[in-house]
């Protein structure tokens, strides 16, 4: 889709020895369309001020931009109220905040928290830390032979002792998608609250938190064409209301005396300090861009490229694809026998191809697979079949050099 690619200025500027950038590291972060860059620059250059308190005109414009961004996010994730949309610095920040404000005050010795074997460290380590500090147990839901979450094992792990089940929507290493609706339904039978790590979801499928039924969901702006340092935590209103503030400080209060503080209402209660206003405005522009192209369109394009990459890379002898049948996602991991993933990545980058090599912050998963790492390619709307062909040919060259 040439017109879409031309919206991303980096592909004009970041050339490697005359060759354009082939960006296949979209699971890590995405490139930025001009409209997002313009929205951020436009805020700083045109109506910059703090939000919430100022009565002068740039402040009211900034407040209104920040508020509109929240409304855009609400519609984007299908939440019923803006009160359920909390801005964070990213997915990791959201996980930590839910752990600190929701889980820890409710977690007792002997309780359990469930995570899956395919979790990113950011949806693993905070829960692990919380469990260890309270004498609770972190249990890991295993994967089946096809590297999908083993739902029958999951069902057998659900008990009244489990306080939270934290699971990713899409594995950032394997690209497999979890059946969230089913998982959430199972968990709710035991009154277990479900936290969904949706970091890889916003460009894959339309999110609807009400339909999904999750209790919490988080994603980062930068993986969805938005800027870094902004993310979203969705929580069911009743849960967010009953939770202590995610952080304390200015902005999140109604009234402060020496004896006590009355907190502000949702969502302000959970957003202490000056928020990332430019980040929220940039994220809103990113959502506009996604809506313009269409989430389904982006997801379909990337999934088709993944499928094409499975076909082309399968031609390479000694190349192992992981979860190659995973459908409707953008992420594909592979290894080549006898060549370390980092050596492959180093040669690819010399050809202008940006991939990720290593553990992808999923040590429990690579440990289970008994591999030192993989090469991961992940697609987006600006990638093409020609780029996959070029990747395939370059891998052939690398193989003949090493082996």
């Amino acid at each position: 889709m040439p017109w879409i690619k031309s919206e991303f200025p980096i592909f004009e500027t970041a050339r490697k020895e005359g060759r354009p950038l082939i960006f296949l590291d979209n699971a890590s972060t995405t490139q930025k369309p001009q409209c997002v860059i313009d929205a951020i620059a436009g805020f700083y250059a045109g109506y910059y001020a703090n939000v919430g308190r100022g009565l002068y005109w740039p402040a009211t414009a900034a407040s209104s931009g920040y508020d509109q961004a929240r409304e855009k996010v609400r519609v984007f994730i299908g939440a019923s109220s803006k009160k359920e949309v909390i801005f964070t610095s990213g997915t990791t920040d959201a996980v930590n905040k839910v752990v600190n404000s929701f889980l820890l005050p409710r977690l007792e010795q002997g309780d359990e928290v469930l995570v899956s074997e395919m979790e990113h460290h950011s949806n693993f380590v905070p829960w692990q830390h919380a469990c260890q500090s309270k004498g609770a147990q972190l249990k890991v839901i295993p994967l089946d032979a096809g590297l999908n979450l083993d739902l029958s094992k999951l069902a057998s792990m659900l008990t009244d002792k489990v306080k939270v089940l934290a699971v990713t929507a899409i594995s950032n290493t394997l690209g497999v998608k979890n059946d969230l609706k089913k998982i959430i339904k199972l968990a709710h039978q035991y009154n277990i609250k479900v936290f969904v790590d949706a970091a890889q979801l916003p460009l894959s499928a339309k999110i609807n938190v009400q339909n999904m039924g999750c209790d919490f969901l988080a994603f980062s702006g930068h993986k969805a064409f938005g800027p870094t340092g902004i993310g979203v935590l969705y929580g069911k209103q009743v849960l967010l209301e009953n939770m202590s503030p995610l952080a304390y400080g200015g902005g999140m209060v109604q009234q402060v005396t020496i004896d006590k503080t009355i907190m502000a209402d949702l969502p302000t209660k959970h957003e202490a300090g000056t928020p990332n206003i430019a980040g929220a405005i940039g994220l809103a522009a990113a959502i506009d861009f996604i809506n313009l192209v269409g989430v389904e369109e982006i997801g379909k394009h990337s999934a088709e490229l993944r499928k094409y990459a499975v076909e082309r890379l399968s031609e390479i002898e000694g190349l192992t694809l992981f979860a190659k049948d995973a459908k409707t996602t953008a992420i594909l991991s592979f290894t080549i026998e006898g060549i370390h993933p980092h050596d492959i990545a180093a040669f690819l980058t010399e050809k202008g191809i940006a991939v990720r090599a290593g553990h992808h912050c999923t040590h429990p998963l690579t440990h289970k697979l008994d591999i030192g790492g993989t090469v991961r390619v992940s697609f987006n709307i600006y990638n093409s079949e020609e780029e996959v062909d070029f990747l395939k040919n370059t891998l052939d060259e690398i193989k003949s050099f090493f082996l």
């Binding site: 060549i339 370390h340 050596d343 010399e350 040590h363 690579t366 030192g372 090493f402």
Partner: protein
């Protein structure tokens, strides 16, 4: 393939990466060290056997890219027969060879081909930790 990168991986490195020197577990070791790079996950167990202040044997076992594996292989080979202070001097010398901040020409530092093979690491600062991983670890115990 790009010549610049090919130079980094030239024959010496590929040869060591493919058939490393003394790869395996040493039974009668006096020192066992773990060289681990959390950024990429490369991990080697290093075994040294000191006798009368001399490194009588050295080996390694683990997982890493061609650069880190070859540099570990070259390290274990060059440590053999060296006293603590000789080993220390060797490591300082190698680190100078690959140091991108160092203006001395590598050839003026050493004439050893196996060490000079890593000179190109100067051009790839992101691969420096591959080339010096095991060397830095051994330096800690000397």
């Amino acid at each position: 393939m790009n010549d610049r990168l090919k130079a980094l991986y030239k024959t010496q490195i590929l040869a060591h990466a493919k058939s490393p020197f003394n790869e395996g577990v040493l039974v009668n070791y006096t020192h066992k060290l773990q060289a681990y790079n959390p950024v990429c996950g490369d991990q080697f167990d290093l075994y040294l056997k000191f006798e009368d202040n001399i490194i009588q044997n050295a080996s390694f076992k683990g997982y890493g890219c061609a650069i880190s594996k070859a540099s570990t292989s070259v390290l274990t080979k060059h440590l053999l027969g060296k006293t603590r202070s000789e080993a220390k001097a060797l490591i300082e010398l190698f680190l100078k060879v690959i140091d991108p901040e160092n203006n001395e020409s590598p050839e003026s530092i050493t004439s050893d081909d196996e060490l000079l093979a890593f000179t190109s690491a100067r051009e790839f600062p992101e691969r420096l930790t591959c080339a010096n991983l095991a060397w830095e670890k051994v330096r800690e115990v000397l």
